[in-house]
C-alpha cells in the first residue's frame, strides 16, 4: 500500500526513521485534501448544474448562512488543520531533537562542495559514510554563503549558515547510497553541489573505520573524494593544505588562532600586521609569497627570525596553493583542516 502511494506521489525510497514519520503524515494530508476538495468540487459542480440560469433577468432568493453554518465553516477546517499540526509538530520536535547517543559528524558547505569531518577520524569531500541503524547528528556550517543539506531519501534538510552551527540528525534504516542535494541557492554551480551518503551495515562500518585508521593514504577517504566538481580555487586550497602539512609548516604555524613559533595562519590573510620595525603591512598574496621565499625580509613583531627559506623547495603552483590555503582560513568562526576533535559548544537541547 505504502509502495503504491509512494509511486503515485513520486516519493523517493524511504531510508530513515524520520522519513517513515513524514510520509505517514504526507499520506494523511493528501488523503484529507483529496476528500475535502472532492466534496467542495462536487458541491460546486452540482450547484452549477442545478442552479443554472433559466431566464436572463432571473431573480433569486436572499440566502444567508445561519450561525450554525458559519460555525461549521470555521470549525471543520480548524479541526483538521490542528490535527495536521499536532502530528506534524510532534514529528518536527522529533526531528529537531537528536538523541543523546548520536554520533557527530561535522559538515561544512562551501561553494560548491560538502566537506565532512569526524571528531576523530578522516575527512571526506562530497561522500559521507555513516552506519545504518545508528543516530547520526550533523553539525553544519558554511564557509561562504548559505547552503542547505538535503537528502531526499531521508527527508531531512537543514541550512548550513556561515558563522554559526546548525544541527540536524537522522537514523538511516538500510544500507545503500543516497544522494545529497544543496537546496539553498548558492551561486553559479548550485546545481552541481551534489554528494552522497553511503550507509554501511554495522559490519561494513567497523571495517571501514578500521581501514580509515590504518590504511594507506590512497585508500583513505580523503584521497577517494571526488574533486572534479570542486572549483579551482577550492581545489588549490585543498592541495595547499596537504603541501603545508608535507613541508612542515604546521611545526611552527597553527591554524587554530594560537601563536606558536610563527604567527597563526588563521585569519592572517587580509590582516594589517605590525612588523618589528613598527611598520604596518597588509598581508596579501604578495606578502605571503615573499615571506615563504625570503622570510627574513619582514619579521612580525613578537616572533623570532627562524623560518627557513622555501626558495627552490616549492614550485610556483605549489606556493600559490599554499597562499590559497592561507586565504581560505580567513573566517575566524570556522574551523578547518583535519579534524582533531574540534572543540565546540553543544547546541541547545
Amino acid at each position: 500500500m505504502n509502495e503504491l502511494l509512494n509511486d503515485i506521489l513520486f516519493l523517493p525510497e524511504r531510508a530513515s526513521t524520520f522519513a517513515d514519520r513524514v510520509d505517514t503524515l504526507h499520506y494523511f494530508v493528501v488523503g484529507v485534501t483529496m476528500v475535502a476538495s472532492l466534496a467542495v468540487g462536487t458541491a460546486a459542480l452540482f450547484f452549477f448544474f442545478r442552479y443554472r440560469r433559466r431566464k436572463p433577468a432571473q431573480t433569486t432568493e436572499y440566502v444567508v448562512p445561519s450561525v450554525k453554518t458559519e460555525f461549521l465553516f470555521v470549525s471543520l477546517p480548524l479541526i483538521f488543520f490542528l490535527t495536521w499540526f499536532a502530528i506534524g509538530y510532534r514529528d518536527f520536535v522529533f526531528y529537531t531533537t537528536p538523541p543523546k547517543d548520536a554520533m557527530d559528524v561535522y559538515v561544512m558547505g562551501k561553494q560548491w562542495m560538502w566537506k565532512f569531518s569526524y571528531p576523530e577520524g578522516p575527512n571526506g569531500v562530497n561522500v559521507l559514510h555513516v552506519p545504518a541503524n545508528r543516530p547520526v547528528r550533523l553539525l553544519l556550517t558554511s564557509r561562504d554563503v548559505i547552503h542547505s543539506f538535503f537528502v531526499p531519501s531521508f527527508r531531512i534538510k537543514m541550512d548550513a549558515l556561515p558563522g554559526r552551527y546548525t544541527q540536524t540528525w537522522f537514523e538511516a534504516t538500510k544500507p545503500g547510497t543516497y544522494q545529497i542535494l544543496c537546496t539553498e541557492y548558492c551561486g553559479l554551480s548550485h546545481s552541481k553541489m551534489l554528494g552522497e551518503v553511503v550507509v554501511l551495515s554495522a559490519e561494513d562500518w567497523d571495517n571501514w573505520v578500521k581501514e580509515q585508521r590504518q590504511g594507506k593514504l590512497p585508500n583513505r577517504q580523503d584521497a577517494l573524494a571526488d574533486l572534479s566538481l570542486v572549483p579551482h580555487s577550492a581545489r588549490m586550497a585543498e592541495q595547499g593544505q596537504a603541501l603545508a602539512a608535507n613541508q612542515g609548516c604546521f611545526k611552527c604555524h597553527t591554524v587554530n588562532g594560537e601563536p606558536h613559533i610563527g604567527p597563526t595562519f588563521l585569519g592572517m590573510y587580509g590582516r594589517l600586521e605590525t612588523m618589528q620595525t613598527g611598520q604596518k603591512i597588509l598581508v596579501d598574496e604578495a606578502f605571503i609569497t615573499q615571506s615563504m621565499m625570503d622570510p627574513g625580509a619582514y619579521i612580525l613583531a613578537g616572533f623570532p627570525n627562524v623560518m627557513p627559506t622555501y626558495q627552490g623547495k616549492l614550485t610556483g603552483p605549489q606556493s600559490a596553493a599554499i597562499v590559497e590555503y592561507i586565504k581560505s582560513l580567513r573566517t575566524p568562526d570556522i574551523r578547518t583542516g583535519a579534524s582533531r576533535g574540534p572543540v565546540y559548544e553543544p547546541l541547545s537541547q
Binding site: 523517493p12 524520520f18 513524514v22 503524515l25 504526507h26 494530508v29 485534501t33 476538495s37 467542495v40 468540487g41 458541491a43 460546486a44 450547484f47 442552479y51 443554472r52 433577468a57 432571473q58 433569486t60 432568493e61 436572499y62 440566502v63 444567508v64 448562512p65 445561519s66 453554518t69 465553516f73 470555521v74 480548524l78 488543520f81 495536521w84 502530528i87 506534524g88 509538530y89 514529528d91 518536527f92 526531528y95 554563503v145 542547505s148 538535503f150 527527508r155 531531512i156 534538510k157 537543514m158 541550512d159 549558515l161 556561515p162 558563522g163 554559526r164 544522494q179 542535494l181 544543496c182 537546496t183 541557492y185 551561486g187 553559479l188 548550485h190 546545481s191 573566517t331 575566524p332 537541547q349
Partner: protein, 558 residues
C-alpha cells in the same frame, strides 16, 4: 419594474442611452484625446488603464523569462543558455512578476478603476498621488530594467544574504528599483484606505461596501504596514553590496538570518497583497454570474481582515529549516493554520453563494472555477507546509515552486483574467467574443495545471528549486512541465488576440451586459469623466441584491 433608481440602473436598457448626452458627458475614453490628456490625467479610470498597459507589458517580459527558464530545463544538462544566464533569468522572472506584475496588477488596474465607482465617488481621495504612484512605479521599473540589461542579477528574488552582498552581478540598481516601486505601493495603499474611509457615497455604510472594496482595504493595510520594512531591507542590502557595512556579513559579526526575518516580515504579507485582491474580484464575479447576494458577506469581509492581520505573524514558516528554535517554529506553524482557516471560510462561502443562484457560465465564471480549484489545492498544500515537519523535505524544492504558483499566481491570474473579462464592457464599452473567451480560459487553466502538477511531483521526488542542471531521473516531469507552459502561453496569446480585436472592432456593449447589480454598474459604461451624470444613484440595497420584489420576505438563514 421597481421604481428604485438603483434597480433601474441595474438592468440593461434602463440606463439613459449614452448618445443622448453625448455632447455634454462624453465617456472618459474620449474626453480629451491628446497624449498629454492621458499621460497627465488625474482621472482614476485613465490612470487605471495606463496601469493596465504597463502591467501587461511587464507580464509579457516576466512570461518570456519564464519560458526561457522552462526551455532550459527541458534536458538535464545545458540546453539553450549557460548557467549564469539561467540564474539571471529565473531571478528576473521572479522580480518582474512579483514587483511589477502581481503586486500592482489588480490594485493598480481594477482597484483604481472600480474602487471609486463602487463607493459612488467621483475619484480617489488623492488623484495627484494616484498619478504619482504610477510614475514612481515606472521610475523604479526603469531603474530595475536598466540594471537587468546592464548585467542582471543572479540571487533569486529572495535576495538572501550573504550571497546577494557578495555576488558580482548588478544587484544595486535592481534592488534600488524595487525599493522605489515600494513607494508606489505605499502611495496606492494610503490612497485606497483614505478613499474608503472618506469617499463613500451617502447610503454606503461599511457593511454595504462591495466585497472587492473590503479586499482592497485589507490589501492596502498590508501594503502600508509591510512595505516600509522591505524598503529598509533592500536599502541595507544595496548599501552592503556597495559599501560593505557588514550588517549581514557573518565574518563581521552580522547575522544573515536576521535578513531573512526582515525580508519575510514583508514578503510573507506581500503574498496576501497579491492574493487578497484576487479574492475580492472573485467575490464580485461569483455574485454577478450566479445572480445571488454573497453567502456570508461579513464572514468574507472579516476573513480578509483576518488574513491581513494573521499574515503579519506567520513569516517564520519560511524558515523552519534555518536553525530557528523549535518553539518559534510551533508558533509560526499554528498561525499559518489560521490563515488556512480564513481562506477556507471564503471558499465555503463562495460555493455557498451559488446555492439557489442562477448560474450563467460565461468566461469570468470559467475563471472563477479555475480560481476555486487553484485556491483549494494551493491553499491546502500551504497548510500542509504549515505542519512544519512536511516542510522539511519540501522546503526549497519544486513543491514550493508549484505551491506558490498555484495559490499566489494561479489565483491571481484567474482573478486578473476574470476581472478583465467581467469589467471589459465597463472599461471600454465593447464586448469580446464569448466563445474564444471560454476556449482561452480552458487552455489557460489546463496549461497551468500541466505546468505545475508535474512540479508538485518533482518536489516530492526532491528536485531543489533554482537548479540549472538536474539528475536524469527528474527529466520526464520537467518535459511535461515545459509542455504545459507552452500550452499556457498559447492560451494567453489567444486571449491577447481576441481582446485586442474586441478593443478595436468589438461590438458595442450595453451599459450593463451582465445585468449585474454590483454598485459599479450603476453608471454608464464606459463612465463619464466624473463617473456620474446628473443626480448620484442612491444605494438602498446592498450590492448584488437580486431579490424581487425588493422587500421580499427574507427566508430563514441556511
Amino acid at each position: 419594474m421597481s421604481p428604485s433608481p438603483s434597480s433601474i440602473a441595474a438592468e440593461p436598457g434602463a440606463v439613459p442611452a449614452p448618445d443622448s448626452h453625448h455632447e455634454h458627458h462624453p465617456s472618459y475614453l474620449i474626453d480629451g484625446t491628446t497624449v498629454k490628456s492621458w499621460l497627465l490625467s488625474l482621472d482614476h479610470k485613465r490612470i487605471g488603464l495606463m496601469y493596465l498597459f504597463w502591467v501587461l507589458l511587464f507580464f509579457l517580459v516576466g512570461g518570456i523569462y519564464a519560458l526561457v527558464v522552462r526551455l532550459e530545463l527541458l534536458t538535464p544538462g545545458p540546453t539553450i543558455i549557460d548557467a549564469m544566464t539561467y540564474n539571471r533569468a529565473f531571478t528576473m522572472h521572479g522580480v518582474v512578476m512579483i514587483f511589477l506584475f502581481m503586486i500592482p496588477a489588480i490594485p493598480g488596474v481594477f482597484g483604481n478603476f472600480m474602487l471609486p465607482l463602487m463607493l459612488g465617488a467621483k475619484d480617489v481621495a488623492f488623484p495627484r498621488l494616484n498619478l504619482a504612484s504610477l510614475y514612481i512605479l515606472l521610475t523604479g521599473a526603469i531603474i530595475a530594467i536598466w540594471g537587468m540589461i546592464n548585467g542582471g542579477m543572479d540571487t533569486g528574488w529572495t535576495f538572501y544574504t550573504p550571497y546577494s552582498t557578495q555576488t558580482t552581478t548588478t544587484v544595486a540598481p535592481i534592488l534600488f528599483g524595487a525599493f522605489i516601486i515600494g513607494f508606489s505601493s505605499i502611495a496606492t495603499g494610503i490612497n485606497f484606505i483614505v478613499t474608503t474611509h472618506t469617499m463613500r457615497a451617502p447610503g454606503i455604510t461599511w457593511f454595504k461596501m462591495p466585497l472587492f472594496v473590503w479586499a482592497m482595504y485589507a490589501t492596502s493595510c498590508i501594503q502600508v504596514l509591510a512595505t516600509p520594512v522591505l524598503g529598509l531591507v533592500l536599502l541595507l542590502v544595496v548599501g552592503e553590496n556597495l559599501f560593505n557595512f557588514g550588517i549581514f556579513d557573518p565574518s563581521r559579526g552580522g547575522d544573515p538570518v536576521l535578513f531573512q526575518h526582515l525580508f519575510w516580515f514583508y514578503s510573507h504579507p506581500a503574498v496576501y497583497i497579491m492574493v487578497l485582491p484576487a479574492f475580492g474580484v472573485m467575490s464580485e464575479v461569483v455574485s454577478a454570474f450566479s445572480r445571488k447576494n454573497i453567502f456570508g458577506y461579513r464572514a468574507i469581509a472579516f476573513s480578509s481582515l483576518g488574513i491581513a492581520f494573521v499574515g503579519f505573524f506567520a513569516w517564520g514558516h519560511h524558515m523552519f529549516v534555518s536553525g530557528q528554535s523549535t518553539f518559534d517554529a510551533g508558533v509560526f506553524a499554528v498561525l499559518t493554520m489560521l490563515v488556512g482557516v480564513f481562506t477556507a471560510i471564503k471558499v465555503f462561502n463562495w460555493v455557498g453563494t451559488v446555492y439557489k443562484g442562477a448560474v450563467d457560465f460565461k468566461t469570468p465564471f470559467a475563471y472563477f472555477c479555475g480560481f476555486l480549484y487553484f485556491t483549494v489545492f494551493g491553499g491546502m498544500t500551504g497548510v500542509a507546509f504549515g505542519t512544519a515537519s512536511l516542510d522539511v523535505p519540501w522546503h526549497d524544492t519544486y513543491f514550493v515552486v508549484a505551491h506558490f504558483h498555484f495559490i499566489m499566481v494561479g489565483a491571481t491570474i484567474m482573478a486578473f483574467m476574470a476581472a478583465l473579462h467581467y469589467w471589459f464592457p465597463k472599461m471600454f464599452g465593447k464586448m469580446y467574443h464569448e466563445g474564444w473567451g471560454l476556449v482561452s480560459a480552458a487552455l489557460i487553466i489546463l496549461g497551468f495545471n500541466a505546468t505545475f502538477i508535474p512540479q508538485f511531483l518533482l518536489g516530492n521526488m526532491g528536485m531543489p528549486r533554482r537548479y540549472y542542471e538536474y539528475p536524469e531521473r527528474f527529466q520526464n516531469l520537467n518535459v511535461a512541465s515545459t509542455a504545459g507552459a507552452s500550452l499556457l502561453a498559447f492560451g494567453f496569446v489567444i486571449a491577447a488576440v481576441y481582446l485586442t480585436y474586441a478593443l478595436i472592432y468589438g461590438r458595442r456593449a450595453s451599459a450593463n451586459p451582465w445585468r449585474s447589480r454590483g454598485y459599479e454598474w450603476l453608471t454608464e459604461s464606459p463612465p463619464p469623466t466624473h463617473n456620474f451624470v446628473g443626480p448620484q444613484p442612491t444605494y438602498d440595497e446592498e450590492p448584488h441584491f437580486y431579490v424581487e420584489p425588493k422587500k421580499a420576505e427574507v427566508p430563514d438563514a441556511v
